[in-house]
Amino acid sequence: MSTPSFSETIDHFSPAQEEGTGVPGAEKGLHGRPAPPSIQDQRYKTGTMVGLAGILMFFTAFVSAYIVRQGLGTDWEPIKLPNLVWYNTLILLASSFSLEMARTRLKDLPALRSWWLGTATLGTVFLVGQLVVWQKLSAEGVYLASNPSSSFFYVLTAVHGIHLLGGVLALLILSLKLWGGILASHHVGSMALYWHFMDFLWILLLLLFVFWR
């Protein structure tokens, strides 16, 4: 059949089991070397990568519209980015670092849990930070419809924020597995792929806002 017997190849682990025995991933192929990726594992990774390709096209459409609209040039007034944007960026980078710490600590359950929640927290802080950025801009009288540059800034930050919010929700949903059930390594891998991509995408958008004014 298409999906081989799962118990043979899965490299997931049960936290409950771990805590009892103290042997992470016992008999599951996690003895310090990666188990052969199962089909299940592959399916999630492939799905995430395919999804990211679609998301990339979605953002490419906005960015190309940005560039074209900016090139029309008669009414484009560059917006002044609040400094908070840079702190938000650092927080987002920190969240990627945090998730990477979690991903490389699959065997150390308490550390995994801490870094995992840390990532979700940093992601939430970033989102709140972006809202504050909006607030600062609107306090200065820069609204969605003020100028094409501000329109694009609000739209792109909103669309990115929604994708990141999805990431935070995914982290929280998966943390249910981290506490009560089974968090397979393909969950962690796919999550990391998505999260780092959103991080990378934000950097690209920031570069666009800074250098393509």
């Binding site: 059949m1 492939t46 799905g47 679609g54 096209m57 490419t60 519209a65 094409p148 669309v159 089974i182």
Partner: protein, 595 residues
């Protein structure tokens, strides 16, 4: 462990009605749901086209039913010109999105892609269910536009701004109706993106042992390429839709230029570019044409081989040409915009790239004819439709040769020539692919046979009918007849075209009537058709390996191994004239990569 169950089936068979047939995760049920959604939508779209044809020939006629349904759009039962444009918009939108995009991909693709590669289900069954229900919501929102204040939008299925971006002030239907249109399309985009993700992942990761890429049946390749196109194209339309909606509701100026005075009011937007919408829309819109027709190409390839009892001619060339068509499809959107003031140099580039699509298209046509050549042809209804898919692909494609030249397009643009062209190639050819698929796979999907005589009658009426409708439209275009005119009275230079319009309308009536033969056949076969055996067509692919209809988990936990390519018909030295893909390998001839 939840995951452990995956080793046997993607999910357990549900027992209650709601989970089995409504919110089902079974790709087969979801496929049927998509198919029925498209079947409903196609009859709605067809009713609209009948109204369009009536208005063109007998404008001013009062239709009682219209007054009851749309007192605003058809006061006294007489269609207003705006109402005509609303019919046109909704006809196009429903047909392109809810029929041509859903039935071949969401319908047949969902049902047969996993089976043809030996999988239990799609890679993400829950996501699959979500895709369908989002599509359903999208259809409901779209149809709701008929019944809101102002009625359905009048901006065409392409929704060009500024008309589509200004709101109610621009005319009836451009208020809430247009908002609903955009929301519906946005939901549809999300549904299609999720579907595409599922299709691609399933093909890449869930193929059964021995099912190498080059042993996949051609429909699977077609669904796969279509899914890639959808993945890359629908996100762009979604982005464009969001920007358009913001122009309408949030006061932004992405697409609305400055200095507009509409209905004696100065429009408070400035600096936007209507052409930006056209670029974004057609970057989606052209691949969309292939999203509609590629599955038909896959189905046609399959059926021509089965009913000629011959291997498909040039399997690999078929695969590569589909990728060629898909790739070029992303590079030609400018040919919809030759009249937009585009630089002639850009136009030449777009024109050359468009012409280049003729190469993979010609390869496919040549190979289809090569498959038929010398075959033992049996003219089942599925085969009739598949052969004429090729015919329509050629006659529709030849119109493209005139439209892809900027010099001739300047004359033909926005005339009935364009209407005839895209209906033949995108509409009718794709629909013929759907019909071919229906007659071919009905027995597998529902366990009963459709009636062959009724099928043949349906085929002939439809084939003669659609050619009588859309071929003359090319001539209307050649005399310079513009599209989208609600009525022709008072347009002197079009007076001579009235008899041709009359002919087209009569042909449309006959063609529409023929579809009720199909509907009757479909419903009759569903309940009363003769029971279908496992493999009525003596075909080789995996779906014919299992009972009709297949059980919940498709293969009943049976371990399959594929040893053969999908088109081993009339193999010398074999007893039967076909070799199932799972048959034991032949001595020395099975190289593993052949075919």
């Amino acid at each position: 462990m939840a995951e452990a169950e995956h080793s046997h089936a993607a999910h357990a068979a549900p027992t209650s009605f709601i989970w089995k047939y409504i919110f089902s995760k079974d790709h087969k049920i979801i496929g049927i749901q998509y198919y029925l959604l498209a079947l409903f939508a196609v009859f709605v779209g067809m009713a609209l086209s009948v109204l369009i044809r009536i208005n063109l020939v007998w404008s001013g006629t009062s239709i009682g039913l219209l007054e009851a349904l749309f007192p605003e759009g058809a006061p006294g039962g007489v269609m207003t010109p705006e109402f005509y444009l609303a019919m046109l918009t909704m006809h196009g939108t429903i047909m392109v999105f809810m029929v041509l995009t859903t039935a071949p991909q969401g319908g047949f693709g969902n049902y047969f892609l996993p089976i043809q590669i030996g999988a239990d289900d799609m890679a993400f069954p829950t996501l699959n269910m979500l895709s369908f229900w989002l599509t359903f919501v999208s259809l409901v929102v779209l149809l709701a536009a008929f019944f809101v204040s102002g009625g359905a939008p009048t901006s065409g299925w392409t929704a060009y701004p500024p008309l589509s971006a200004l709101g109610e002030i621009a005319g009836p239907g451009l208020g809430i109706g247009q908002d609903l249109w955009i929301v519906s399309i946005a939901i549809f985009c999300i549904a299609s993106l999720l579907g595409a993700l599922n299709f691609i992942t399933t093909v890449l990761d869930l193929r059964v042992k021995g099912m190498t890429l080059m042993r996949m049946p051609l429909p699977v390749w077609a669904w796969f390429v279509t899914a890639i196109l959808g993945l890359l194209a629908f996100g762009v339309l979604l982005a464009a839709g969001i920007l358009l909606l913001l122009d309408r509701v949030a006061g932004t100026s992405f697409f609305i230029p400055g200095g507009l005075v509409v209905s004696d009011q100065i429009i408070n937007h400035k600096g936007g570019s209507p052409l930006l919408w056209q670029h974004l829309f057609w970057f989606f819109g052209h691949p969309e044409v292939y999203i509609a027709i590629l599955p038909g190409m896959g189905v046609t390839s399959q059926i021509l081989a089965v009913f000629s009892r011959k291997p498909i001619f040039g399997y690999k060339a078929m695969v590569y040409s589909m990728f060629g068509i898909g790739t070029l499809g992303f590079l030609v959107w400018g040919h919809h915009m030759f009249m937009s003031g585009m630089s002639p140099y850009s136009a030449i580039v777009f024109s050359l790239l468009t012409t280049a699509i003729a190469v993979p298209s010609a390869i496919k046509t040549f190979n289809w004819l090569g498959t038929l050549w010398g075959g033992r042809i049996s003219l089942e209804p599925a085969m009739q439709f598949a052969i004429r898919f090729v015919s329509l692909f050629v006659s529709g494609g030849l119109g493209g040769l005139f439209l892809n030249q900027p010099s001739t397009d300047i004359y033909l643009h926005d005339t009935y020539f364009v209407v005839g062209h895209f209906h033949l190639i995108m509409g009718v050819a794709a629909i013929f692919g759907i019909f071919a698929g229906t007659y071919y796979w009905f027995s597998k999907m529902f366990g009963r046979h459709m009636n062959k005589k009724l099928g043949t009658l349906h085929f002939w009426l439809t084939f003669v009918g659609v050619n009588s409708i859309f071929m003359p439209m090319h001539f209307l275009g050649l005399v310079g007849h513009p599209r989208r005119y609600a009525e022709l009275s008072g347009v002197n230079f079009l007076a001579q075209t009235a008899p041709l319009h009359f002919f087209i309308t009569i042909a449309a009536f006959i063609t529409v009537a023929a579809q009720f033969i199909f509907l009757f056949n479909f419903l009759w076969a569903l309940f009363k058709g003769p029971k279908a055996e496992r493999n009525p067509w003596s075909a080789t692919t995996l779906e014919w390996e299992i009972p009709s209809p297949p059980p919940h988990d498709n293969f009943g936990g049976k371990e399959l191994t594929v040893h053969h390519g999908p088109y081993e018909y009339s193999v010398p030295g074999e007893e039967a004239d076909f070799v199932m893909q799972t048959a034991r390998p032949l001595q020395k001839t099975d190289t593993g990569t052949e075919n």
